[in-house]
Every structure is written in structure tokens, then in C-alpha cells.
Symmetry: C2
Subunit: 370 residues, 2 copies
């Protein structure tokens, strides 16, 4: 038996969940993460070295057959050093098209996925043009390195744009029209090396202070909208030539979908798949990266996830909720830090809603957002 060894850049909870999915498949993982406390260290070998340590990166690449990442903000030079030695899946195109919010929106638009009006803000002069293009109600975001609501400001009138840009340190930014959305949804999907793909049921998400709090699958949306979401996920997979799992986050506004952003990796809004889907997003990512056929992305019954942020309830209280299980990441709690999640399954939507209410109540008692 020849074992595949997969190198994973980043060793956080996503890495840990990838590692847990890899072990049964007989796939060995090596994690590259600067933190000696990286959660994934318990499920594979761990190289604790800095992102700019090119020697360590080369050593890492030499240990593995193929490389993937659970963290999309790996420095370009580091990634190039690895890519020079071993195949990286998904490919660099998936990162290039998504690491810059302007390029990402242009990619989505060109791929046929609807996006809201947007404009680049790089200079003082861009501000007026952006207001004229986008309108006076919008969101200003740094073009790169933002996540969980960091690096963005809401703009509610023409006079607020310039101060918002100041507040972002005049970084290269994108100004996007405010979308008066009814729901936030996402679609997680995986594409195999041979181009076949699977799409998970559409998920409804609830964010609190810019951080995902709850995901419910399937989202309570009309079938036509669910089919459109699936089509958009495939447009993104194909447009990127992606190999692996990704998430497409969208708004539902006035009954139609507007794409918000792409996460070119396994995603928090897909954690429910570990209990809820026939194959988890993590297993399918590892299958794709290892060049194997994908598993069924269907879900036999409704499922949901609640994030544990900044604090953990006693595990016994979580597990006492019917249909619930807990996943603790082994990270020390800090306000705003995702330290675990609760997954819930139920035979019916009604039962799910009840159980979810219990889980959310418990999580809110212990969560510390900031």
C-alpha cells in the first residue's frame, strides 16, 4: 500500500478537522504552522516554523506528496517556495483570484455570478468616483487580509467615506454597495482533480458582530434559488479550476442571489457536514487533494452548527442537548476567537429549530465576542 502524505499550510481548527478526516483514509498529514500550540498538531506531524522560513518550507515540501492549505493568507513567497517543489491543490489561481477583493469581485462577475456594484479606492481621487458608481450607502473594506468583519467600515452617507478610509489606514480598499439582504447564505462545494464536482445543500448563516454564529442546512429558500446557488458554486469551481473544497458566500436580496465572497478552502459554514452530510467537506477536500473520487455531499436530514466564540460551555451541557455534539479545538479562549462549535442533527426541521434554540442559548451564555 502506498500512502499519500499531504502537507497542509496552517494548523488551526480547519487543519485539525482535515487531519481527522485524513486518518481513516490512510492519508498522512504534515502541518506547517508557526504556533507550537497549533490545534492540528494532535492529528499529524507538525513543523512549527515561521511563514518566511524558506528552508523549513522546503523541508516541509520534501516530506509530502502534495500540498494544500487551510489558511489562505499564506505569504506569496512562501507559497511559491512550496509550489516549486510539490503540486499545490487548489492551485495558485484559486488564491490569486480571491486574495484581493477587487479581483475576486471581477472574477465572480466574469464567471457569471451576480455581484453588487463596487469600486476600487486606492487614492483620494477614487473616493468621489466610488461614491458616484456605488452610491452613498455602502461598505468600505481593505482589499486584502480581512476576515471575520475585521478591516471594514459601514458608510451611511457621502461624508462618511473619506473618514472610513482614514480609519482603514488609507489601505487599498474596495467600496461596495450596501445590500439590503433578507438572508445570508453560502454554498460549500468540492471539485476533484478530474473535474467532477459535488455541491452541498445551501446553508443559511447568521453573523454576530461580523463573526459567523450559526449555520442551518438546508436554508429555507425556494428550490429555484437553491438551484441557482448550486449553479453559481459550479461557476466558481470551474472558473478557478479549483481542486478541493471552497465556499461561496452570498446574500439573498429581493429574492435573488448576490455573491459576497469566496473562501478558497474548507469553511466554517460547512462544519455541519461532519455530522450532517454523507461525506464531510473535510473528507471531500482530502479526497480531492489526494486525487481520489469525491463522496456524496447530500444530507439525509436537517442539520445546523453554532459557533463557540471566546468561551466554551461545559461539554456536559452541550451533549445534554438532543442531537448535539461538540467539537472543541484545543485553543485557549480569547474574546472573538473561535474555540469550538456545536453540531446538531434532527429528523425534522421543527425538531432542529427547537434543539438549535437550546444550543444557541447555551453558546450565547459563554460566547465573548470582543
Amino acid at each position: 500500500m502506498s500512502t499519500t502524505t499531504v502537507g497542509i499550510l496552517g494548523g488551526g481548527q480547519l487543519g485539525q478537522m482535515l487531519g481527522l478526516a485524513a486518518i481513516p483514509l490512510g492519508i498522512d498529514c504534515v502541518f506547517y504552522d508557526p504556533s507550537p500550540e497549533a490545534p492540528a498538531r494532535t492529528v499529524g506531524r507538525h513543523i512549527a516554523a515561521a511563514w518566511n522560513d524558506l528552508d523549513a518550507l522546503a523541508r516541509f515540501a520534501d516530506m509530502v506528496d502534495v500540498v494544500t492549505f487551510e489558511f489562505e493568507n499564506v505569504p506569496t513567497a512562501s507559497l511559491a517556495a512550496v509550489a516549486a517543489r510539490k503540486p499545490v491543490r487548489p492551485g495558485l489561481r484559486s488564491l490569486e483570484q480571491t486574495c484581493d477583493r477587487i479581483r475576486e469581485k471581477e472574477f465572480l462577475r466574469d464567471a457569471g455570478v451576480p455581484v453588487q456594484p463596487f469600486a476600487a479606492v486606492s487614492t483620494e481621487a477614487d473616493l468621489a468616483i466610488a461614491l458616484a458608481t456605488v452610491g452613498t450607502h455602502g461598505v468600505l473594506k481593505t482589499r486584502s487580509l480581512g476576515y471575520d468583519g475585521k478591516g471594514q467600515r459601514v458608510v451611511r452617507g457621502a461624508a462618511e467615506l473619506a473618514p472610513a478610509w482614514d480609519a482603514l489606514g488609507r489601505s487599498p480598499s474596495i467600496y461596495e454597495a450596501f445590500v439590503p439582504f433578507d438572508r445570508e447564505v453560502s454554498v460549500v462545494a468540492t471539485r476533484a482533480l478530474d473535474g467532477t464536482s459535488v455541491v452541498y445543500p445551501i446553508v443559511e448563516n447568521l453573523h454576530t458582530q461580523g463573526i459567523l454564529f450559526r449555520s442551518t442546512a438546508p436554508a429555507a429558500v425556494p428550490d429555484a434559488l437553491a438551484r441557482a446557488a448550486e449553479r453559481h458554486a459550479r461557476q466558481v469551481l470551474e472558473g478557478l479550476g479549483h481542486v478541493g473544497t471552497l465556499a461561496l458566500e452570498m446574500f439573498v436580496a429581493d429574492g435573488t442571489l448576490i455573491a459576497n465572497e469566496i473562501a478558497p478552502r474548507v469553511h466554517n459554514s460547512g462544519h455541519w457536514t461532519i455530522q450532517g452530510a454523507r461525506t464531510s467537506q473535510f473528507e471531500n477536500h482530502m479526497r480531492a487533494v489526494a486525487g481520489l473520487p469525491l463522496g456524496d455531499a447530500g444530507a439525509p436530514e436537517p442539520a445546523a452548527m453554532v459557533n463557540l466564540i471566546g468561551g466554551l460551555p461545559p461539554i456536559g451541557e452541550i451533549l445534554a442537548i438532543a442531537g448535539a455534539t461538540a467539537q472543541f479545538y484545543g485553543k485557549s479562549p480569547r474574546p472573538g476567537r473561535k474555540v469550538g462549535h456545536i453540531n446538531i442533527v434532527a429528523p425534522t426541521r421543527e425538531m432542529l429549530v427547537q434543539r438549535l434554540a437550546d444550543a444557541e442559548h447555551l453558546a450565547r451564555q459563554h460566547n465573548q465576542l470582543a
Copy 2:
């Protein structure tokens, strides 16, 4: 957060699957297994020392909060050394009542679970008594340490019993009436520290040369029989005061159940629960041992498992089967050795049967039984 550390005696594939279930719950595992290659070593700390190394066992006990086992033939003295220092769950009664086939059958009978006629064979004189009690068609088994069909002989006439006993080295044995069964079934169940319990759907098993080859859940049996099986599982859990998961293997003969044996631990006929049930037998065992509430043992759709014995098919061929996933244990293949399994789920029984046929065909091409 106080983390529970669970010590597990034995580090085979059952230990590995327990460890995989423990990590998300934030439970640390320490495995005690003489083999430096123990499969579970990748999912927890590993003490590689001999079963009779009482110093190492004491050190192991000192590292953990509570001890369980994945291997029921731990020497009594070793177990006592551990039990003197830390709680062992399930308790020693679960081992005492099941490690000897005579005591096990007496326990089952006393607990109200039907068993076939049986007799002890310890001396030459017992042979005639056994034949008179049990009949001339039966199975002679060593009282202890048998598994996977080892240590047993079929007897088809009065003249065959004495030679069978010789073939077993005149070990203390049990002679059981042959049961002309229609099906082999098992029920996996878990009991929590507080006495609550959950029972998984009844499973139909197929053995080949005494080794489990295939399990299908739920077994195609009448509801009344499924309910009786569940009742018997609870009688065993209660009778033992068991804490953790166990399996009760039974025959269906003439429409009624006859208990064959108890495995006082997670069991091969419950591997399907990893994909197929809302909570796996492994997660529920870890919950029970850690004193936590149990999870839902229901299954949203039909599921099955096929054992990979003595050889592994290429993983890509397994994963190409719809609804299938693979679990490889990381053991070097040897004839008769369980080295992995295929789990299958499907939305309908008809689809499951089709997929299962593909999986069985693939497994048989690579299995080497002896």
C-alpha cells in the same frame, strides 16, 4: 476548561476509532499497547510496554483520569494494577461475566436473555454429561480467549466430541447445542454513568470462516424481533452495570432470538455507526467513560459495513462506489487480519443493496482469510 484524559488499554483499530471520536470532544487519550506500531498511536499518546509490566501500567494509570479498554483479554493482574489507581469503565464485572464462556452463558440466562443448551467440559467425565445435556450436534469452544472463530470445533455426532476436545488441547471448554440459525444479528448499545442507555438499530451480520465480513443496519427482521433484541441489550447493560458500549451477538432461529455472546466493548458490527448513525458507537463510548450524556443512536438511513481482511483494495476503487467511504487501520496486511473496512450509506434499502454488492465484490477480490 478541564480536559478529561482517558487511558485506553489496547491500541488497535478500535482504539484508533475511539481516539478519533475523542479529539473533537476535547478528550485526550493515552493508549497502552505493547506494539510500537499500534494503529492508535496517531491519535493520542502511546505507552508501548508489555501487558505484565506493572510499573508501566502504574505510570499509565497516573497519566489519566479514567481507564477503558478496546481489548477484553487484558491479563487480570494488569487490570487490577490499573483499577487500584483509577476508575475502570466499564467495570471489572463486565469483563468477569464475559471472559469465560460458561459464566457468560449463565449470566445471559440469569439476565433473562435466551441461550441455547450448553455444558462445561473440564474433565473426561464431562464429555458424556455434555452430550446428554446438549445433544450430538454442537460446537465445542475453549472457555476463554477465543475470537474470530479461533479455538472452536463443530461436532456432528457423539463420536466427534472427544476428538474435538483433544484438538483444543483439552482446555476447559464449553459445549453448546448447534443452533440452526436463519440469520446472525447483533445489537450495539451504550450505557452512561448515570444509568441511562441508548441502543443502536439491530444489525444483520455475515461471517466468513468465522470472521465478520459484512454488517447491514437495520437488519431485515420483524419489528417485534427488533424490539426484543433491544430489550435483551438493555438486560445485558443493566445486568452488568456496564458503563460504555457493548455488543450482544445473537442468532435468529425459527423466528426467535438466541444469544451467542457479549463483546464488552465497541464492536466490529458497530463500525457502520461512524457514517450511518447520528452518534457513533465510539463517540458514545467515550461520552460514557468520561461521564457525559449519550448521543442519539438512531440512524437516518440504511447503512452497512464490509470488512477488509488480509488485504486492501486501492482506495480509489473503494471511494468510487457511491455512498462509500474507507477506513484503513494502518496495519500491515496478513491473512485473516482485519486491516480496514468500507462503510456505505444510501437513501434507500434498494440502493444500499446495490452499493453493498459492489463493495463486497471489491473486498472479496483483495481479502485473504487464511
